[in-house]
Symmetry: C2
Subunit: 321 residues, 2 copies
């Protein structure tokens, strides 16, 4: 029921996942009378009724108080009760995180959860920027835990061996930043289970200088939104200015193969599933703008997180350290 | 002597400024034997010799120790001695800031300096993001001072009446953010001399939601570099993918007027002069990539800052509050 295009595109994403051979069985949680007609007897898709919906702008706290009624609350409870193995939502990110934290709890040894923002890089590999906004008052110890969790996630779910970790900072030199960055730098350098590259800057994120970029949730959220803002403005500019007029439309026809290449390069849909790491269960948030394809890809990430035993691996990394 | 294209493009920027009617008389500071042949008798341009140069990657502290020999040290000292009224550099930002802070000192009533990053917005007006990286450990009181200083700067130098101020945060709601943002929100709301809009998010910056966006220097620097990184990657993509091949080149010919419109819209050169606010003298940093035109525009900003009495206005705002 969550996201700007629910329930149509969300349900379509679910049936697309199944139709393209997805192994996981799906449970759609929400208003039964809206969902059931839309699945039209697709195999491996069932419906669990939930009467209420957390709206996109709603305060997570208010949403939590009526969690036994809301689709995100009911869906998360299914995971807690062992009736589902993971939850994925295109809805209110704050409510999804709050439900996961309250209902599923934290992995033992992890103090704070982190939202893992996935981005395409010019190297062609995905990169993970975390924390993209789950925790507002992170300290250096939290950042070390983020690095450990994201390393397991990139290994297991994205198949990247020994993923490299960069610390987001205002310069490459080890002595850069505030006290928190200096402490985090020392902790990351000393951690044997983290492939620490050193400091990276904002411009390194899309270059893929490292597979993982760790930062506090305030900086991560602000940076991610600022980057998205630039991309939106530039895309609008290309459409309106370059390919807008009559000559522009002709040019667009000629440049069509190139435009397709460009779109594929900038396509963040395969990556935009943001897993919430550190909660004791698989919980994945995707973009509120998600259409069927993006939803299908988010279900893929959710399924791979389950199938590869991500939560167990994070638990081992947290307690072994 | 500073910047990737010094001294050629820097000197060309100076003579361009004079040739296009700029009123200020210019003093070029650096190796006399390199500079003098390049000004070729341009009127209103003199040379003061300085033997050393702070390299772009050099540590500002090391640079400061030999400040009586370096071009940025000597140039800043000219302002202190009243032989110049402002200093502008495309060189090492850290060294320029350190020289300004140490040699010129702070404006009375201002605790920390802030670097004012200028950006174009889709509204067509410039916006100011500060602190773009001058101070790493800012508190809420500093952010209020930044808002006051930037308000005077946008009024005086960019002619914007009652410039609006946004607080960079992870959401629009007043209760968002860490303790520092909550405190800053309360201080900005109570300040009668600041036209406070409320919280803004990363995606608001280029939209021009507010004329000024205040944040701490760590976040501001990281966000600015991340935004620049996206712009670089997208620009490369447009060039290589869309207009790269033979068909693409033909398309580019057709789309030429549109490409020009797009370039003008995305052109940050008129804005990229970052004044360092809070030091007791006009000090402006421009991009290390600066060519003649960008340098000329940076001199314009420097001259307007002097002519409009910016430093005095900041001093009044700081002590009246």
């Amino acid at each position: 029921m969550g996201g700007d295009r629910a329930p149509d595109e969300i349900v379509r994403g679910a049936t697309l996942y199944r139709a393209s051979g997805g192994a996981a069985e799906l449970v759609l949680v929400g208003r039964e009378e809206l969902l059931r007609p839309r699945i039209a007897g697709a195999s491996g898709v069932e419906v669990v009724d939930a009467r209420e919906v957390v709206e996109m702008g709603e305060h997570p706290g208010a949403a939590l108080r009526r969690r036994s009624e809301t689709s995100i609350g009911v869906a998360t409870q299914l995971v807690k009760d062992g009736r589902a193995e993971g939850v994925v939502s295109a809805g209110n990110t704050g409510a999804t995180m709050a439900a996961a934290l309250l209902i599923l709890g934290r992995v033992r040894g992890i103090d704070r959860p982190a939202l893992c923002g996935m981005l395409p890089t010019t190297k062609g590999t995905p990169a993970c920027l975390l924390d993209a906004g789950a925790t507002m008052d992170a300290d250096a110890g939290n950042l070390l835990q983020y690095a450990r969790m994201a390393s397991r996630f990139m290994e297991k779910v994205h198949g990247i061996g020994r993923p490299s970790v960069g610390l987001l900072n205002v310069g490459e030199e080890p002595e850069k930043g505030e006290r928190m960055q200096l402490e985090a730098h020392a902790l990351l350098l000393a951690a044997k289970d983290v492939n620490f590259y050193g400091n990276v800057e904002g411009r390194d994120i899309l270059r893929g200088t490292t597979d993982i970029v760790v930062t506090d949730g305030f900086t991560g959220n602000t940076v991610a939104k600022a980057m998205e803002g630039v991309l939106d403005v530039v895309t609008e500019g290309i459409r309106a200015d370059i390919f807008g007029g009559l000559l522009g439309k002709l040019a667009a026809l000629l440049a069509l193969p190139g435009i397709k290449t460009f779109r594929t390069r900038m396509d963040y849909e395969p990556y935009v599933s943001a897993p919430l790491l550190g909660v004791n269960g698989v919980s994945v948030v995707t973009h509120g703008r998600a259409r069927a394809r993006m939803m299908k890809l988010a279900i893929d990430v959710t399924e791979r997180s389950i199938a590869t035993g991500l939560i167990g691996a994070i638990g081992e990394a947290a307690t072994a350290a």
